[in-house]
């Protein structure tokens, strides 16, 4: 579903953020993307959606190269849960925000309404439908942002720090929702316990390269590897 072939990227010519990154993610896989601050996790997610253009290499999403011509189709296939839900929700109510994407993709008003009801019911968020975004709590806003992304029925779900700023209860809820999804998932996070709960595979980014790529159970138990790259074992494995 997602393939990186020798991809490099730099915001400034002499300071590469990603260097010669290659990996591929199959359909239905749940992959954790970990790394210290500034490792390039968010940049990598943005490259997938064509918000940034690689300086070298090629990215394929759902078999389509990430080029200007394919962006519309790629963004329909892949949804991004942004780090900040405040920036993700920009319309007055949850319902309007959920309808924004489908309507842009010419989904009929009836079908859009059906999707909204279906997604909200699935996430147990029906009570948020007509609520004003600015009146939602941080946790509710996060859930609403997930609903907004799911309303486009993406085949690939990219999540940038989905549990950041959440209290334990809401964090658990996001984990449960993430586990219940069947889409291909790429989750960038520092919350290694959440990655352990939701992902079967982990890619560790360090200094702009893939430092490790393997089963979550192996990578996240490798104390030496994690500590060498500014991370720690997940709390539950620290004994």
């Amino acid at each position: 579903m997602i393939s990186f072939d020798h991809v490099s990227f730099a915001y400034e010519p002499d300071r590469p953020v990603l260097s010669d990154v290659s990996f591929s993610i199959g359909a239905g896989e749940a992959v954790g993307l970990i790394g210290a601050n500034g490792a390039g996790k968010s940049t990598l997610l943005q490259l997938i959606l064509g918000l940034l253009a690689p300086t070298a290499g090629q990215i394929l999403v759902g078999g389509l190269p990430v080029t200007k011509e394919n962006l519309r189709e790629i963004r329909r296939k892949a949804g991004l849960l942004m780090q900040s839900s405040e920036n993700q929700l920009f319309l007055p109510t949850v319902r309007e925000d959920m309808a924004f994407g489908p309507r842009n993709y010419m989904v009929s008003a009836e079908e859009t309404e059906r999707r909204i009801d279906e997604v909200l019911a699935r996430l147990d968020l029906a009570h948020l439908k007509d609520r004003y975004n600015h009146k939602l709590s941080g946790g509710e806003r996060r859930m609403a942002a997930i609903a907004v992304v799911l309303c486009l029925e993406p085949e690939i779900l990219l999540m940038d720090e989905p549990t950041i700023t959440l209290d334990p209860k809401n964090r658990r809820r996001v984990i449960t929702i993430t586990q219940s999804l069947t889409q291909t998932r790429l989750i960038a996070s520092h919350d290694l316990d959440m990655i352990l709960d939701t992902c079967s595979r982990v890619i560790l980014l360090a200094d702009g390269t893939v430092a490790a790529d393997g089963p979550a159970d192996e990578v996240l138990r490798d104390r030496a590897l994690l500590e060498a790259h500014g991370l720690e074992l997940p709390l539950r494995l620290q004994g």
Binding site: L49, L51, R72, R75, R76, G79, L80, M82, S84, N87, Q88, F90, P92, F100, G101, R103, N104, Y105, A109, Y132, H134, V148, L152
Partner: protein, 267 residues
């Protein structure tokens, strides 16, 4: 800090007000827009000494505010910063136009005084009518109505984005002011020496946020065209509102109702 938060709250309350339910709220946005524009044009068309026509023209917004179940006081409260500007527009008229019009006891009422009051009334009436339109119509519905009138999408998009950007700007300003006051206890307002960097930072921060919002829109398929709300169909009731309103306004404009009532009372 408090003032900014309050302003942000008031701004958002307007959105909630616009989705309330009343016969005026239920009217087609285009019908409300056309009637408001017509009302403003007619108010503005009165000559500068037509003060006595203003109370008659005021009856329209007063009646509509009642039907819309919106207190008129709310309008004056929300427009409290703009109303003084309206007053200031004709402030010099009494000094330039000293032609005596009539005498009230020892006071000679001049043409300048009358034109000043007329201008003041015109401004207030136009503002109250515009406020009623915004308070009973969602902003995106209003933009959709403008599109129906073939107003270029570039302009309506710009209006809608600006409207959304105001809250972003206010949120950032509020957060920055809070951060400032927490480190400058006892200071009233922001010290003039910090204004430059404050405004610069505000611009940069709000631009960053606006860029993120834009990305969020792009990621959900936005490509320069808003799919405005689906407007309800323009019914006979809407047509009756526009035609009835236009007929009444024309009648009031063409017939000097205040003069007639006055002459009846004198008789």
């Amino acid at each position: 800090m408090e003032r900014l938060d309050r302003a942000l709250g008031e701004f958002r309350q307007m959105e909630e007000l616009a989705v309330s339910d009343s016969p005026i709220h239920r009217l087609h946005p285009l019908a409300k827009f056309l009637t408001t524009v017509l009302y403003i044009l007619i108010v503005v068309s009165y000559p500068k000494y037509a003060l006595r026509a203003m109370p008659v023209m005021a009856l329209f917004p007063i009646l509509l505010y009642q039907i819309a179940r919106i207190p008129l006081s709310l309008c004056f409260y929300r427009l409290r910063y703009i109303l003084p500007l309206v007053c200031a527009v004709g402030l010099f008229n009494p000094f330039f136009d000293r032609t005596p019009a009539f005498q009230v006891g020892a006071l000679t009422v001049t043409g300048g005084m009358i034109s000043f009051l007329t201008l003041l009334c015109k401004g207030v009436l136009c503002l109250t009518a515009s406020f009623l339109l915004v308070a009973t119509t969602r902003f995106d519905a209003l933009c959709a109505a403008l599109r129906k009138l073939h107003v270029p999408s570039l302009l309506t998009n710009l209006l809608l984005l600006t409207y959304r950007y105001i809250t972003v700007l206010m949120e950032e300003a509020s957060a920055m002011t809070t951060a400032y006051h927490l480190r400058a206890p006892g200071q009233k307002g922001i010290h003039i020496s910090a204004w430059g960097s404050f405004l610069g930072q505000l611009l940069l921060r709000s631009m960053d946020r606006a860029e993120d919002l834009f990305r969020a829109m792009q990621l959900r398929g936005w490509h320069g065209h808003f799919h405005y709300v689906d407007l309800p169909s323009f019914t006979a009731r809407d047509a009756a509102y526009v035609c009835g309103g236009a007929a009444l306004l024309a009648l009031v404009r063409l017939v000097d109702i205040a003069g007639l009532v006055g002459s009846l009372l004198v008789r």
